[in-house]
């Protein structure tokens, strides 16, 4: 069995995306800024890709900036909103405690410049409500940035409600939709989104390419200076093959979205039900408002890296929020944000599914994972202390 269930980290490129990209590597390879035919053919491909992305997001083509991925889009959106705020003397930003580091680290940088950042608490389920946002907005708030869906625990935030609050109060609203794009419905106008980040490799497109939607009239600040590409807001010769591949992948993902969601939700819920039967385990994230392909658990008494390595040996490619994998001792900030103590946060497992996963694979995982958990618990002094009553279980 070879099972890839780490689709929140990255996905396999779809045939449609690969096929769309191929001509732009060896046949239509001109620089879109060149005046000759070869260049103009590439420029046309960019126009088409931009139109396709815009149509799928519900915006105008000129409201799309192509970037090197989700991180860059997040950085540029936040810095731009901060600069706009700064000019009006507004230096307060609202976000949440469990954003991606592309957001959190950008906010940290702004804090050093004198911005004030409020990180909303996400509660034990791991979500942010529109009421929390409304309450936190102040006279000097220049930006609300809340992710559409959390990359670790899969919670989906009420983006349209948060958008409505921000619009009513006249505050810019950015959402990191990297985990949502291609998986959840997006309509930037209906949802009152001012800025939105997405990344192609999370929906079966190529790595290193993404997009930032910016509502007309919002002035972007450059992160990269140079040529006049992307209306002068993002210099550098466009990655034409990747951009074309992104558009093809996005079109396919959006077209199949509802069908894929129904399929994945069934597999997801079977995994959740099966893994919940492991004693002293707990599901992380919102059980209802949840990404269709996200399964995330903590298992008491074991450590996540050893779990992952043993699953890998059984052909299962999964992920954990474990500190050990990243080389830092701090467990995932997301698990700490939902109130899991360090001891528990170390023993986490994320399975993120895609439509290529099958029920047969789910059945295999439901056999393999409980075995590996039991095996590791069998050699864990922490587990023994709890079983023999010297220590209390944290997960009941």
């Amino acid at each position: 069995m070879n099972i890839y269930v780490d689709n929140a980290a990255t996905t396999r490129m779809s045939d449609a995306a690969v096929a769309a990209m191929m001509p732009y590597m060896q046949s239509v390879y001109g620089n879109p800024s060149s005046l000759h035919t070869a260049g103009q053919e590439a420029a046309e491909a960019l126009v088409t890709a931009r139109e396709e992305m815009a149509a799928l997001l519900g915006c105008e083509p000129r409201e799309i900036i192509f970037t090197s991925g989700g991180s860059e889009a997040d950085n540029q959106a936040i810095v731009s909103a901060a600069r706009i705020g700064q000019r009006k003397g507004k230096k307060h930003i609202i976000s949440s405690a469990f954003e991606h580091h592309a957001v959190l680290h950008t906010l940290k940088k702004l804090e050093k410049e004198g911005f004030e950042v409020t990180l909303l608490e996400v509660g034990s389920v791991g979500t942010v409500t529109a009421a929390q946002v409304a309450e936190a907005i102040r006279e000097d708030t220049c930006l609300v940035t809340i992710m559409y869906a959390n990359n670790e625990i899969g919670s989906v935030m009420p983006i349209a409600e948060i958008g409505a609050v921000c619009r009513e109060k006249g505050v810019l609203f950015h959402t990191d939709a990297v985990q949502a794009a291609g998986h959840l419905a997006i309509d930037v106008k209906a949802q009152n989104i001012d800025m939105l980040s997405l990344s192609a490799h999370k929906f079966h497109g190529p790595k290193g390419v993404g997009a930032l939607y910016v509502r007309k009239g919002i002035l972007l600040t450059n992160l990269i200076e140079g040529g006049a590409q992307e209306r002068g807001k993002r210099a550098g010769t466009e990655n034409v093959p990747a951009i074309v591949g992104m558009a093809a992948a996005f079109k396919e993902a959006c077209g199949l979205r509802e069908q894929n969601a129904a399929y994945l939700t069934a597999l997801r819920d079977k995994l959740i039900a099966g893994l919940s039967a492991i004693p002293h385990s707990v599901l992380n994230g919102d059980p209802e408002n949840r990404l269709p392909g996200n399964v995330h658990f903590c298992f008491e008494g074991i450590e996540g890296e050893s779990l992952l390595l043993l699953l890998d040996a059984k052909g299962i490619c999964a992920s954990s929020g474990s500190a050990c994998t990243s080389g830092s001792l701090e467990p995932s900030h997301v698990l700490l944000a939902i109130g899991r103590p360090h001891e528990i946060a170390h023993g986490s497992l994320r399975l993120s599914l895609c439509p290529e996963n099958t029920e047969e694979q789910v059945d295999y995982m439901l056999k393999a994972i409980p075995e590996v958990v039991a095996y590791l618990r069998g050699m864990s002094p922490v587990w023994r202390d709890m079983v023999e009553g010297r220590k209390e279980f944290i997960i009941k």
């Binding site: 450590e303 890296e305 050893s306 043993l310 001792l329 864990s380 922490v382 587990w383 023994r384």
Partner: protein, 143 residues
């Protein structure tokens, strides 16, 4: 995964000496669940020789592999020799550990020393405490 050497993977996937010794002569536990690693070593000692050793570990792959290797290296050895075991020797025997995992081999060395210290304490044998580890001296988990 190329994260670890084959030796580490072997000792992680087929750990030697896992388990508990009932009525052990010395037990040493180091680390804490908060920082992500706990190692517990059980020793059976006869005439100053380690006749049996078992371990239990909560931790990452290299923590389990380090415990396994360390127990192999001291089994059947005189106490004096076991006390000479360094974390570097454990890591070398595993064909190396990634830099941020060296701490796992330190835990193995310290768990053994603590188990021997526990044996000395149990039997009223005098020793120099300075030669034994103190968890509070290590800054690994910042506690």
């Amino acid at each position: 995964m190329a994260l670890y050497s084959e030796k580490v993977m072997d000792h992680f996937q087929n750990p030697r000496n896992v388990g508990v010794i009932e009525n052990a002569d010395g037990i040493g536990e180091v680390g804490n669940a908060r920082c992500g690693d706990i190692m517990k070593i059980y020793l059976k000692i006869d005439a100053d020789v380690i006749t049996d050793v078992k371990f239990e570990t909560f931790g990452c792959g290299s923590a389990i592999a380090s415990s396994s290797m360390a127990t192999e290296m001291i089994k059947g050895k005189p106490l004096a020799e076991a006390l000479q075991l360094t974390n570097k020797a454990v890591a070398e025997a595993l064909d190396g550990l990634p830099p941020h995992k060296m701490h796992c081999s330190v835990l193995a060395e310290e768990a053994i020393k603590k188990a021997v210290q526990n044996y000395y304490d149990n039997n009223g044998i005098a020793y120099d405490p300075a030669e034994f580890p103190n968890c509070h001296d290590c800054e690994h988990c910042g506690m």
